[in-house]
Amino acid sequence: MPDLGLDVLFKGSNFLRLLEGLSEAAKISLIAIAISIPVGLLVGVLMTSKNIILKVLFRVYLETIRIMPQLVLLFIVFFGTTKTLGWKLDGETASIIVFSLWGVAEMGDLVRGSLVSIPKHQYESSKALGLSKNQTFLYVIIPQTVRRMIPLSINLITRMIKTTSLVLMIGVVEVLKVAQQIIEANRMSSPNAAFGVFLMVFLLYFVLCFVISSIAGMLEKRWS
């Protein structure tokens, strides 16, 4: 069997370090997601408002975040705020801010999309039944929206988890960085370690994303 460098994974505390790296990636993405979901819901509702100023404001926000590569956003928040405002955010905080800004924008757009996709007769029927506007939202529109949003949100969440690999650029040691450290530290003794180590990284990301999509699948079934 060819040397895949799997032994490197279990040298010293290497495997534990990979897991710590994974928990760092999970921490950043999960906190950002926890912020994105409620705030995104709010933003999404506001996006459907008829107030032109609000509409423009959120449109500009969404497009800016969408157009900018996440790496650029990370650099702006991490280095840019120090240069212009004198803040010294640590890498983790800067990452959470960027991922939340991104998550809120995208989640908001998903909510907006789901809201406008609810047929008009749903609103009209509610009105005919004598429900107030708030009741219509609470009992009729929101439950339907949430159900439509789950698969879309999972797509966003897994994308956010995978994008945490960029935070190594601002000094946050997450799973991919630990993998590079392990490969490089053993470059001379086992030059093929890259395969084994990246295979493990793949499995770790897979497990993390799989757990999340399974939970979502369960929710989707229960609420349908």
């Binding site: 505390s13 405002l85 000094g171 040691v173 450290q181 530290a185 030059p191 890259a194």
Partner: protein, 281 residues
């Protein structure tokens, strides 16, 4: 719903307003972004930017602690300053940004001194030499690139200084380009090319690790140096680092550093060629 939207819009505007006021107050607080020598000693911690994945200069061992030639030096700096050291994992691409924003006090990340970089950061005196090197097989040692046999090629790793140097200075020599160290190594070992050009530290290490290879050209192209860098304008720290280099020179500190961290990779033969003592080449 309408009143709700209104309340939210007001709150949002207020939040933006407050954050702007906050920014204005913050930016006038400091007149320099870096920390002076006194400020570092007062805080009890020095932040040093190092590589965490460049064996054997700055890397993290299997127990999770920083090791390597640069790290050995960094530990000594902290010890002589009487402070704790906080290692910050930096990338080649963001080393300058870290200094410009004062997030680290010193960068010790195998930082080659170049004219462009000198414009934006302040380099201390050097502590190591670096140049290109060429490794070839024992039975066909290449000691010069002149009169090159056009049927032979040289292996390079894409994006390295070796590639740019050879394209500029020896455009007639065919190159075989590889993306990673591992693939270049495999190709060279399988005999696809007569020679392999890379940083001299890399080729020296290769020749020592593998039987049957000789570094015929240990130093090619311009001789560059590696030095510590501080934020532009941080004179107190820069002067201290230069004085420290002189003191360390009297005890041959970097020879000891070499023997502790690099000798397994580069062997004893290149010690004097690579090490710079006292900050003087």
């Amino acid at each position: 719903m309408k009143t709700f939207t209104k309340v939210l819009a007001t709150a949002l505007t207020a939040a933006i307003g407050f954050s702007l006021v906050g920014c204005a107050a913050n930016s006038s607080e400091e007149d320099h972004i870096y920390r002076t020598l006194d400020e570092i000693q007062e805080s009890g911690v020095i932040n040093i930017g190092v590589f965490s994945d460049k064996y054997p200069f700055g890397y993290v061992d299997e127990n999770g602690s920083y090791q390597g030639y640069d790290v050995y030096y960094a530990n000594r700096i902290a010890e002589d300053l009487g402070v704790e050291v906080n290692f910050v994992s930096t990338e080649a691409a963001s080393r300058i940004e870290y200094l410009e924003t004062g997030r680290v006090d010193v960068v010790l990340a195998n930082f080659t001194v170049t004219a462009e970089r000198e414009e934006v950061v302040d380099f201390a005196n050097p502590y190591m030499n670096v140049a290109l090197g060429i490794v070839s097989r024992e039975d066909n040692v290449i000691t010069s690139l002149d009169n090159w046999n056009p049927d032979d090629s040289i292996i390079v790793i894409s994006g390295t200084t070796a590639e740019t140097y050879l394209i500029e200075n020896y455009p007639d020599i065919p190159l075989q380009k590889f993306d990673s160290y591992a693939t270049a190594k495999e190709a060279f070992e399988n005999g696809t090319s007569a020679a392999w050009a890379n940083d001299n530290t890399e080729v020296i290490a290769f020749a020592i690790e593998n039987e049957g290879y000789v570094v015929g050209i240990p130093s090619l192209g311009s001789q560059d140096t590696i030095a510590a860098a501080v934020t532009s304008g941080n004179e107190s720290l820069l002067n201290w680092l230069n004085d420290e280099l002189v003191t360390l020179g009297t005890e041959d500190f970097f020879h000891a550093d070499y023997e502790a961290t690099l000798i397994d990779v580069y062997g004893a033969d290149y010690e004097d060629e690579l090490v710079v003592e006292g900050g003087v080449i």
